[in-house]
Symmetry: C2
Subunit: 435 residues, 2 copies
């Protein structure tokens, strides 16, 4: 038994969600889920605990990731357990597990919390939440169009202006063909390294970028740098691959047909070479203040392979709660984060607390408003001030006069209006106001 005074600090690198922060979190989650469901996506989830093997299967690089960057421990049954660092292996496991029962294509979304064992630093928490949306079981290009349209609609539904962001697209297969056909680079590991370099294009000076390219293409680095600046039609023509390549153009044209115009081709968009096999995309905040990727995703055709059976093709994206909240704050899109009840019943003395509870219950049950009682021992003026500060809409004071006469006043705090009478009478007047 420890008798020392306990710290009230949370565990290092994770967040406590007090009501004002939880309200923002719930608002973000509700826009995410409402938008996903408006597109016919169904929600799923799983435990944060997963067998560690699930993350080791993707190759040596991942083994290192599991050992060094995840929370992995051994349980008393000698099982290695990992706190999920990403949702994709979990959803691949679930889809593979019911491949015979599911009616493909399926549209699934989830809002899991994910864990990374990192040194905590600004914006790099050990736990965060991430929306994951995926379409499994089709490689039709219109699924690519749909998933990007869904990502786009997410931002609009938060009140964002499409001028503030752009959708950057590319195609992994096209890039593989490009490096094979024009630069005779086909080694997977080399392609992965190039991919890492491409992802740094916007972050480093051109001379540094040139230097990085030089390692792979020697004196042809200027040629490669200029190739990467081509527009979508010229680039596709340059590669001249027939099937996959045109997917990129079909996706771009499809988005245009849906009225989504802020789409740009970006040959330097890479997103790692391990994972994706077709369309890849990112939504980028171009407003200046918050210049960063808001979300990213793409098509992966081999994801369920490690569970055996025929591979199931999928396309999806993920977006994080921290990035989302930063975006909303930067663009002043969070109006209010207060979760106040509609009605506060205010007894002037604790002896009226119970009668006030009855009034709150009558309003709750008969009008559908949320209602609560200020059972603190504060003075009346302070109680009314608190209700106003919390942005409560209506108050009813219960004091000696009201308790004796059974005549109460429902006061509107946002307009110059009130109703006086018995509880039954003011409920009736209130209901006719709001109908």
């Amino acid at each position: 038994m420890t008798d020392k005074i306990q710290s009230t600090e949370a565990y290092k690198g994770v967040r406590d969600f007090y009501p004002e922060d939880m309200a923002v979190q719930q608002y973000i989650f509700s826009v995410w889920s409402d938008t996903a469901e408006s597109f016919g996506f169904e929600r799923y989830d799983a435990s944060v605990l997963e067998p560690a093997d699930l993350y080791k299967a993707k190759g040596a690089e991942n083994e290192e990731m599991v050992n060094e960057q995840t929370y992995t421990f051994t349980d008393r049954g000698n099982r290695e357990v990992t706190l999920r660092p990403e949702m994709t292996p979990t959803v691949a496991r679930m889809v593979a597990g019911k491949r015979r029962e599911l009616s493909f294509p399926v549209r699934w979304y989830s809002i899991p919390n994910l864990f990374r064992y990192e040194r905590p630093q600004r914006g790099r928490l050990r736990e965060h939440w991430q929306l994951n949306c995926d379409i499994f079981g089709t490689n039709d290009f219109t699924a690519d169009v749909e998933i990007i349209a869904l990502a786009y609609q997410m931002l609009l539904n938060f009140g964002a202006d499409s001028k503030n962001f752009e959708i950057r697209i590319n195609n992994k297969q096209l890039m593989t063909d490009f490096f094979a056909n024009k630069y005779q680079i086909t080694d997977v590991e080399t392609l992965r390294q190039i991919s890492g370099v491409l992802d740094r294009k916007r972050k480093v000076a051109e001379s540094i970028f040139d230097g990085l390219l030089e390692e792979f293409v020697q004196e042809r680095f200027e040629e490669l740098r200029e190739d990467l600046k081509l527009n979508i039609d010229d680039f596709v023509k340059l590669v001249n691959a027939e099937n996959q390549n045109s997917t990129l153009i079909k996706v771009k044209d499809g988005l245009k047909d849906l009225g989504i115009g802020n789409v740009v081709f970006d040959a330097s968009l890479a997103r790692g070479f391990n994972y994706y096999t077709g369309t890849i995309f990112e939504i980028f905040d171009v407003s200046g203040e918050n210049n960063r990727a808001m979300l990213g995703g793409g098509r992966y055709d081999n994801l369920t392979e490690m569970f055996g059976g025929e591979a199931i093709s999928g396309i999806g994206f993920g977006m994080g709660d921290v990035t989302m909240r930063d975006f909303l704050e930067t663009h002043d899109l969070l109006t209010s984060n207060i979760t106040a009840p509609d009605l506060m019943v205010i007894p002037t003395d604790p002896k009226y607390n119970l009668e006030s509870q009855q009034i709150a219950m009558d309003f709750r049950n008969q009008t559908g408003v949320s209602a609560t009682v200020d059972i603190s021992t504060k003075k009346l003026g302070k109680k009314i001030g608190d209700a106003s500060d919390r942005l409560v809409d209506y108050i009813i004071v219960v004091g000696d006069d009201e308790a004796t006469s059974k005549s109460f006043t429902l006061k509107y705090l946002n307009e110059d209006k009130k109703h006086t009478g018995t509880i039954a009478e003011i409920i009736e007047q209130f209901s006719s106001d709001t109908n």
Copy 2:
């Protein structure tokens, strides 16, 4: 790198939530949160990761619990971390951490997932979700009335009949006084053991119960057994303690004033002697088929003591998702667990997929329905059958005729009704139906 075929099994003792199960889970969570918010409760949350010390502070018994029944491991910074087994220590930590800023009393709720390291068995999972509702910062008896009224309303809002359950109440202080005054038992450890025995009263035969009581009160076991059968007024008179004791009667009368009549006094209701200090209660399913406690809670006055400063009084309850779902299934209160989109647009051929996406988008944006496209390669009849099976409300087929004539038909699947015309026209007709 492991090349073996991965298992699609979840980690032992936890659940995967496929969409049909997730829909039930989300339904339960939404009734919980809507009801809590209708009472003015604000939602909070924290990470599942907590410092292990948080659970060790409550005494030797807890040290054992932390070591043997929780997931506890040491991180690379040599911190002992526990996956939270219950929410109360977390919320006590959070309340204590902001005691100077919070305007008490506060009404808080949360729906955390909790972890116990147990041998998995039916109904005893290693991870479950639990609604937690608490009022902190007042010991006014009307808070006790309110929290019980909230628990009661939870069940009504799921469609339960109040005849199917009863609210059992008792008071820890009253029981302490009872054993001190009448049986001269004051030792805390002995009281805890008696509490364990009382909790078994309904589960064992009377002769066994008598034998258990005998250990503590010797030949007076029959007297004690009869005392425990007294009605509320006689029991309170017997104890004759003046302050706390009458709280029990005030709470019962207060609930009656709110129209909550299915409340019974139960002197054998104990709920462990460590934790609670005043009112304790349980809601019990008395329908016969599911005879068990649905939820339980009580008042604790010392909970924030371990964080230093003056103790903050609270009262709360918890209820689990597994118990809740069993209750709903037993009483046939789960109507549908399908999450279908309202409108399914059905292309007869993949070449109409994109045009179908546009139609879905127009409906989504202009009417507010959820809408999606069947981009599978199934035959038309199968697609229509699938939409009907999924309980979709409306379909629009997009084939050669429609694509050429630009005249489409919106078909209602639940009634003999349809609209034909351009997309703009059928959106207008549909909107006037639903307004």
